[in-house]
Symmetry: C2
Subunit: 387 residues, 2 copies
């Protein structure tokens, strides 16, 4: 396939929750469900019957010291490696670095990953999460906007209960990209005695003002859509136009100009429909972004999107509490977590007593280099994890 | 005032169409109106009674060889220098470099600037433009979405008619930032015999795929707002929520993280309303962006926004047709026209036979360094213009 078609294919594969461009994987994983009868949020609200999905590969050793937790990004799920069935079109999003003999070697390590609270992909098979789209056991109806605010600290607390349930007392590493990186930092700051080393990828410990503003800009089209109806749409049509508009903004920021140029170019969407001739005649990137957003929106719930946006805005792991070996991987063309901000975070972590190693992920994908170009760092990750 | 208050003040001043942070100016300018009885667009549509506003300072010399045209950016107007009255709170947006004795010296040059077609600020005093908000003389009602598509080539063609009307046969320079830069390149490509030198600031000759996509993302909330009503709202409430949402996205992209951190920080908007406690409790940057958007929206028409977005998407001046001395000023933290794209444009212009000089505008404002930090390049601009 040519570069443009391949690039679009990569993007479309990204839309399948947890799936990325990857060669066939021999690793088969299954989705399991972890349940807490009650969970009290950092904000003090109690949620009954909290469920999250998780998957794993490899085996725990005798002293359970070989566990590695993989935390997922904004639009991702626990499907980071392997396939659910040999016939799956694509493997998990980081299959390039996780599996038997790979950088994070499932022959040596017990590698596991969980869906977070308020995961976006409530309409995807194999995703188990609890959020505003979940039926409130007290009312028999979806929570909607009555669901309590949750933060990344809550995500990590629920993951910790999963880790405890497995009898794991220490994690050899916590590894995650973007929102997964937020979880990585939160783990190291909240449970320092349980974490040996961390690999935050395309991420800083805290959401800064600019990211808080962008997250607001992502979310606003959902609230503008009259079908959102204050979050009460579960027995009606969902606010699909607002959700698609939200996903378009998020998609643009997560990539960058080189990706847009290579994938779509500046040409018209349709031959014979010259954009100079009518307001409705579009460019290729307009219909391309529409297509990406429509494909993504199929599995995503709009209220979960609003809650995940809020959780991201609230992220604020304290780097001063993190004194660990850190492998910080970043993309110099990342518009979400820019190089200067990554450098500032590395400085804060080093000042606090962490030992920092950094690595660059190059490619045309901007922020998404952290997912799509991760294999560049395979050797560095292997050496860091095995050390 | 402290840095944060001053930074917000700068932004709010930017909202006054054409106004920017500047010390008092002694230069008084007045708005004049240029009218064409008929204008036929590049797309072949004829618009009756096309009016644009313009202002000037300095005097034409005997052979009319000392004229300098200033072209305005997306949200700007012809008010680039001076004040309408001594009591005005702020001067034109580039008053720091244009005026008596300044880099572009109005004691030596006749400096003029015009409002473009489909200028955003139809509700501002002193703005004269023609677009979808204009009353169609054939129907007695605003054009709305029946206005024809216009491009930057049309903007420049109407400006050329103004230039002709003044008896000016050559422009010593055309100088403009961002969308003003698009006009600068279009002038040099369309009317090479009339342009001696150009100063494109924070701009490339063409909208690339990524910018076309972003412009689509800016515009989409307007179409999502039910009050937009297919562009037919002139006898009803305008789509203010959609317009404000559009302005928030545009504002975020035009600045960058340093500006957000310095201006707003990551704190809550209101004491006692902790964002961790309720979905509606916001951060300072959220209410700050809302305030900026609300202030801007007062003077802006939503349909004009859609038409200006389209014109920007259609921009494609051919660098191969430009063989001029070029002073290309850019901001290394610009997210709209990134440094690598500026470098690529400079390469194309040089290959075509232009002589290129570049200059960097530093500061926390990202793309807006081209407006707010322009005085850094004052000496370079003076030398280039006077040469």
């Amino acid at each position: 396939m040519n570069a443009s078609v391949r690039s679009i294919a990569i993007v479309l594969l990204l839309l399948l929750p947890g799936a990325a461009f990857a060669q066939g994987s021999d690793l088969i994983v299954e989705k399991k469900t972890f349940e807490l009868p009650n969970y009290t949020t950092v904000g003090g609200a109690t949620i009954k019957s909290v469920k999250i999905g998780w998957e794993s590969a490899g085996s725990l050793n005798a002293d359970k010291s070989n566990a590695i937790l993989i935390t997922h990004f904004f639009s991702g799920t626990s499907h980071a490696f392997g396939k659910y069935a040999a016939s799956d079109a694509a493997a998990g999003y980081w299959d390039a670095i996780i599996g038997p003999g790979k950088a994070i070697d499932t022959r040596k390590y017990f590698v596991f990953s969980s869906d977070t609270l308020v995961n976006l992909n409530t309409n995807a098979p194999n995703v188990v999460t609890t959020g505003p789209a979940t039926v409130n056991p007290d009312t028999g109806k979806p929570y909607g906007m009555s669901f309590p605010v949750v933060s990344f600290k809550d995500f990590v607390n629920v993951q910790k209960a999963l880790v405890d349930s497995l009898g794991i007392r220490r994690l050899r590493a916590v590894v995650g990209a973007s929102g997964g990186g937020f979880q990585v930092y939160e783990w190291a700051a909240s449970y320092p005695d349980m974490v040996d080393r961390i690999v935050p990828v395309i991420s800083t410990p805290r959401a800064d003002a600019y990211l808080i503003g962008w997250l607001d800009a992502w979310a606003q089209p959902i609230r503008l859509d009259p079908k959102w109806n204050g979050g009460d749409y579960y027995d009606k049509e969902p606010p699909l136009d607002g959700l698609k508009a939200a996903l378009k903004v998020a998609t643009l920021l997560a990539f960058q100009w080189e990706w847009a140029a290579k994938t779509f170019g500046a040409g018209p969407a349709e031959e014979g429909k010259d954009p100079t001739k009518a307001m409705d005649n579009q460019f290729k990137i307009q219909t391309g972004l529409d297509g990406i957003a429509a494909a993504r929106a199929k599995t995503i719930d709009a209220n979960q999107f609003l809650y995940l946006v809020k959780a991201n805005q609230l992220t604020s792991a304290d780097p001063a509490k993190i004194k660990k070996p850190v492998l910080l991987l970043y993309s110099p063309t990342d518009l979400v977590f820019q190089e200067q901000e990554i450098a500032a975070a590395a400085g804060e972590l080093a000042d606090a007593g962490s030992t920092i190693e950094t690595g660059r992920l190059l490619g045309p994908y901007g922020h998404y280099n952290g997912v799509l170009a991760i294999s560049q760092a395979a050797d560095q990750i292997r050496a860091f994890i095995d050390r």
